[in-house]
Symmetry: C2
């Protein structure tokens, strides 16, 4: 197939038209009309075969995830996604049907979050990869950044933590894949659900926030660094799924995937106590659980304490994007740096 | 080095602030204010080691080219570039100093064209690559698309054609690199000069246009297809550099790099005769030669004719992005598909 046929194959399912799309795919650049009076947000993220996904991923999940991780960044800014561009790198001999299926997964995620695919590009490379740029819009003054948290603010996280990291860990173990609940955890790693509706609903409540892609501790650490604060996290308050509770029980460092595993794609936000009720109502509207896990403190750094107030030190401090994460090294306890 | 150190290294030289940049690098997404009343353009393009560049490229040139090929797309829309995002893929063991030098080259190109680097991302991959998204602005109604040419319009190209393709061809030949003029041709392939100022100056004159990245014939073919027209190109009118004339003389298919070689990053525009004088004045203001090479015709397809009116058929019909182009296959005549 030629470059042009490949682009057609890949993009055939994606929404071409959308709000403000004056010229979509097929010219040198898309032409877009920004919503009147709104500010724009722009973010880029890549998924690479052998690093972020492998042959065990369904192609549809690969495409979904490539867009979803970007939508998670848009959600973390309390913005509404509008437009996406996708640069595709294709190894020689790649199956065009697999590329079409990946494109269909991306299109599915785009439709679910009302995002138009307005541009793209295809090149050769040894690794299959998708680099996605998403543009969104936000009302002036309503953007949610990492800076702005104050001591006394509560720290809240959406959904449940650690499922993706524990799923990745278990998927790599012989015999584990058939255990009850593992499939649900694996699905969270392969097909993350960006918290777009929650980010929009929360708009105006948090003093600071971001999405958890590198593990709660590392990402909350970024929030604290940007805000010039510290934070304390209460181990017993971490929101865990039923599958996580069952499968992590008795394992050494059983809470480390929830603290530091990465790829949760949940939101962590700091909310002043006076706005807590409003944030809870917003979460109810968005249909996503929101749990108080700690507080913003003076000082620097994130401390984790157990129910007795004893400090807990996870064995890993968070995900590093330069390390592969399609499969943890065999024999490593989960929570270690490879997950 | 960690992911975060690498990002710092790579981006240290790039303009962080710029028009409309409310939140730049370092948060989940950049926050941008679009210029009031203008439309946006958005484009993405990647350069991959082993495909678009190799170890013979100076790192500074790699970074320059990664941004320049995108700015060329913005120029082709007659838009003004504003903001760029760069996703970097880094092989294990890559020299951080090389990455810093690549980042410096990107920063240099960004400064030259008043573009702020507002976001980025770094991941692992086997091939070093840079995927750059550029956003720009254009006055409503002034955007230059591929559609809109009418029979009778003149076909004009900026600068000179074929230098990059001939340079690439000669750079791969033993002994050729030292010949007079080869360095200048090679430089055009490694460090293209996007025609941003020309695109803006021309605004309103052309009926259609695009940039020449895949060779004049293929790209003019895109313009014709989008406009529902044909075109004729006069072989003797192709604008050629002095180095090209000297080095291509006597070679078989000596004009094919200019017709179909690719990577010219010049503009090809259709201009109604009544607006030719205005287009020429715009080119003079921008300081870039603009040459009439043919006409838009009824029908379909692009024909090339020599001075006697005899049809010329180049051996290659244009560049395919899925083929490597760091070096032509040995022994192939230039203009073949590998260049």
């Amino acid at each position: 197939v030629t470059e042009f046929e490949l682009i057609d194959l890949f993009t055939s399912g994606a929404t071409r038209r959308g709000e403000g799309v004056l010229v979509g795919r097929g010219d040198d650049a898309a032409v877009l009309r920004a919503p009147r009076g709104l500010e724009l947000v722009a973010t880029v993220d890549a998924v690479v075969e052998g690093v972020h996904f492998d042959r065990r991923f369904a192609p549809d999940d690969v495409g979904w995830k490539a867009l979803a991780v970007n939508l998670s960044d848009v959600a973390a800014m309390a913005a509404r996604p509008l437009w996406a561009l996708c640069a595709l790198a294709v190894p020689p001999g790649e199956d065009p049907r697999r590329l079409a299926a990946i494109g269909a997964g991306l299109a599915r995620c785009a439709r679910a979050h009302r995002t138009a695919l307005v541009g793209g590009n295809v090149t050769r490379a040894r690794d299959l990869s998708l680099t996605v740029t998403v543009l969104g819009a936000v009302r002036p003054g309503r953007v949610l950044t990492r800076a702005g948290a104050r001591p006394g603010d509560l720290v809240l996280v959406s959904g449940t933590l650690g499922d993706a990291a524990l799923g990745l860990h278990l998927a790599g173990r012989r015999g584990a894949a058939s255990r009850d609940g593992v499939a649900a955890l694996v699905r969270r790693q392969r097909r993350p659900e960006p918290r777009v509706a929650l980010g929009l609903a929360l708009s105006g409540s948090p003093s600071a926030g971001l999405d958890i892609s590198d593990g709660l501790l590392q990402d909350l650490g970024h929030l604290c660094a940007a805000s010039g604060t510290g934070a304390v996290v209460h181990l017993e308050r971490l929101p865990l799924s039923a599958a996580y509770r069952r499968l992590a029980r008795g394992a050494p460092d059983g809470l480390d995937p929830a603290l530091a595993g990465g790829e949760d794609y949940e939101l962590v936000v700091a909310v002043p106590p006076a706005r807590l009720a409003r944030a809870r109502r917003a979460a109810a509207v968005a249909g996503v659980p929101l749990t108080v896990v700690g507080e913003i403190t003076p000082g620097r750094g994130v401390r984790v304490v157990d129910a007795r107030g004893v400090r807990h030190r996870p064995r890993s401090l968070g995900h590093d994007h330069l390390r592969p994460r399609t499969s943890p090294a065999p024999g490593l306890d989960f929570g270690k740096a490879t997950t």
